[in-house]
Symmetry: C2
Subunit: 462 residues, 2 copies
């Protein structure tokens, strides 16, 4: 049922016996080390546990399951200390990292190993933090994956190269666990693609047949180990349909490009200048130091800030064509492309309806025009007062450089860094090497399938 093309891809991406043995052996040794400590039980989770890792992946997830009666603080302290001693025992380097609670990230034998403490709860619905659920996922998938591991590998590679793999905030795509569930549910890579081609918002997959509530998301895959959780909760409607589009495109005309990562264009300062002049728009980039929190916390705040500053621009007569944000390790950027850089002096100011007498009379007294005014009003429009006044900012750059920006609803951690130390660049001066790739994606925005077709046309042409 697999095509020759898919067999070729699989042969390339499935780890060979040597790679397989090396990873499995190290994983087993690490688990044994956790067990030997007597403090917790070790367990391999993630793609290594399920034989669904792609050749070349270097990520290994080892969970350390502690007694659920331990206080949280003890779990965190013991977990970190055990993780550190294991990393040390294997001759690795390590650092502490933080998600819902702290864990150890170590470099061991050329692998990126996460040593994560969690509670060994009896039932996935009684977890104390999100990581406690992971062992249940591993057990569920391991028991059912059977000979579908190849199909999972194909799907992950397909989703990755299409730009829809990853459940982080920036990507808002498909997680590894979601890929595994989908392959199991539909019985393989090809049947999944055929089904996905016809997906609609609200598609519901309830493998366990035990859904306990409604979900608002466009794709609902009820977690078979937790009836109140949607595994696809972080998948955006656009990424969901990016996958739908890829499925349709691949079914219509399969090509190896669907399984090959795209070459990342270089987007130079000259490219930016050329694009801006062709578009006739204006561009502003607000930059500031990245707040010291994880992406899942910062990125939603960047989006919120983007919306709030976009609304500020709109209120002041500037039309936002597109806007986007990026969080890089050191610096965040909010990017605004505007249809107009200047707006006229005059602005209408709507007042109250005349039947709210007190408000109306107050408005009238406030806006009696100065003698010789060249603006209109107060006049009556649809029964409401209206007056024309002089705009405070007629230039978008002036507004974005003003203190007004710090006064809108920015995210909690974004507000201080943006208020105290932001930069504002405009036009082609927005370009710097750090955000060149981001600018390239912004100005060459394309759906996953459009990117692949574009690569095909470049490959076909002489």
């Amino acid at each position: 049922m697999r095509s020759a093309l898919e067999d070729d891809v699989l042969a390339r991406i499935r780890p060979g016996p040597e790679e397989h043995a090396r990873l499995s052996d190290t994983a087993a040794e690490l688990v044994a080390a956790v067990d030997r400590s007597g403090k917790a039980r070790g367990m391999v989770v993630g793609s290594v546990a399920r034989d669904t890792w792609i050749s070349g992946d270097r990520d290994l997830d080892i969970f350390m399951l502690f007694d659920p009666s331990l206080p949280r603080e003890t779990l965190e302290a013991d977990g970190l200390s055990l993780g550190r001693s294991i990393a040390k025992g294997f001759g690795g380097t390590w650092r502490e990292k933080y998600a819902e609670h702290p864990y150890i990230n170590a470099q061991i034998r050329d692998l990126d190993v996460d040593l994560v403490p969690c509670y060994a709860v009896a039932d996935a619905t009684r977890i104390q933090s999100a990581v406690d659920r992971t062992p249940f996922h591993t057990r569920y998938i391991s028991a059912r994956i059977g000979d579908l591991t190849g199909d999972v590998l194909l799907l992950k590679q397909f989703a990755k190269c299409g730009g829809v793999y990853g459940s982080d905030q920036m990507t808002a795509g498909f997680s590894g666990y979601l890929c595994e569930l989908l392959v199991i549910h539909y019985g393989g890579f090809s049947p999944l693609l055929s089904a996905a081609a016809g997906w609609r918002p609200g598609t519901l997959i309830d493998i366990g047949g035990h859904r306990s509530r409604d979900f608002p998301e466009p794709l609902i895959v009820v977690d078979p180990v937790d009836p109140g959780r949607n595994v696809a909760a972080s998948l955006s409607v656009s990424q969901m349909f990016g996958f739908v589009e890829l499925s349709r495109g691949y079914l219509e005309s399969p090509s190896p490009l669907f399984f090959e990562p795209g070459d990342s264009h270089v987007f130079s300062r000259e490219d930016l200048a050329r694009v801006l002049s062709a578009r006739g728009t204006s561009l502003h980039a607000i930059g500031f130091p990245t707040p010291p929190y994880i992406e899942d916390i910062v990125v939603p705040q960047l989006r919120k800030s983007l919306d709030a500053i976009g609304a500020l621009l709109a209120r002041n007569g500037f039309v936002v064509n597109r806007a986007d944000c990026i969080m890089l390790p050191d610096r965040c950027t909010l990017l605004f492309e505007l249809l107009n850089e200047e707006t006229p002096d005059v602005v209408r100011h709507r007042g109250p309806p005349l039947w709210t007498r007190e408000n109306a009379e107050k408005f009238f007294r406030k806006y009696v025009p100065p003698p010789g005014s060249l603006y209109s009003g107060p006049f009556i429009e649809n029964g409401c007062y209206c007056v024309e006044i002089r705009r405070k900012y007629t230039n978008a750059g002036d507004l974005l450089g003003s203190p007004e920006v710090a006064g809108v609803a920015l995210g909690k951690h974004v507000k201080p860094v943006l208020a105290s130390g932001r930069t504002l660049d405009s036009g082609e001066a927005c370009w710097n090497s750090g955000i060149a790739a981001f600018l390239g994606r912004f100005f060459r925005a394309a759906s996953p399938l459009a990117r692949i077709r574009e690569r095909e046309s470049r490959t076909d042409s002489p």
Copy 2:
């Protein structure tokens, strides 16, 4: 109960005995002439019949009441012929005019006399055309006006000088009959103003207590001679509240200016240039010959055209700040003030959602970008396709000068004249002496009270 100020005003505007006798005598002679013809019965209607005309008014309305069993054609032919012979008999000049049906407008002894044929129906609810109702109005008011004629005169002068008198399409204000009913209902000029100060949309006055249906208008004054008719149907919400505002302003600080017509400003070409430069906006005027129909037919079509062209501008990326129209005897003008005269090359074009597979695939195939395109797309936004394309018109003047204008939903009679013979002026070239007053009102838009306060401040200052 009348103030000294109001007594002074009344002494000025109430016709003296000589003027009164002259008008009444001529009216009586005209009625007698109709009666003598044996074809119809004569009747004085309008303000002369009710003693509510303002000194200096030259309008006299004589109705010729025909047998309701006559066919419409006979009524029209006989009505015109009788009107002509009467005008001739009085040594006047005359012409035919058309409302719902034709009538004679004559100049007789320095008066503007309308000789209007109608049916002498038995009951106002069984009229055959709107004019048949007028005699009932006259009888109703004459029987009840008593000693309130002075209050009606004050109200008419107040409404006229405030710019809210007249039920024609351009004014959308208060008719004479409406003024009379309001004075009768509230028992005088002052009590009416006190009540009006608190009016809200949906205010209902049903003098006859016989309303037979709901009315959508903001002020509802049920016709005492017809339960299914709102006498205030043509009053706009803005003019209604213009009157409300004047009432509040007059009650708070009365002044003779409320009863004096405003001096009409001269608005010169230099004024226009100065205003446009202060506002930073752009201005376009579309002009064309006035279609040969009455104002009540043409003006709604001008408004419709204004909306349709405004929507065309908005669709093409131009922001309309204000727009207005005017119908003059020879020429009509549609005026558009824009916040932007230019708009960027790039425009977003929204496509279908990806879950409508056939449409989505069609859209994708249609908008595959040409190689080297500097625009984005097709990309996915909220699950829908979106693509950026090049705008057809980036200059508002180019768009307004293009054939697109004739393609939008213009009024039936406006369409041919606008399509075949329109002119387009821009900036200060929009000015010509014919529309100078209209431009002045447009750029010095002010509520009725704001105009009076402005005149007060000019009177007060040295």
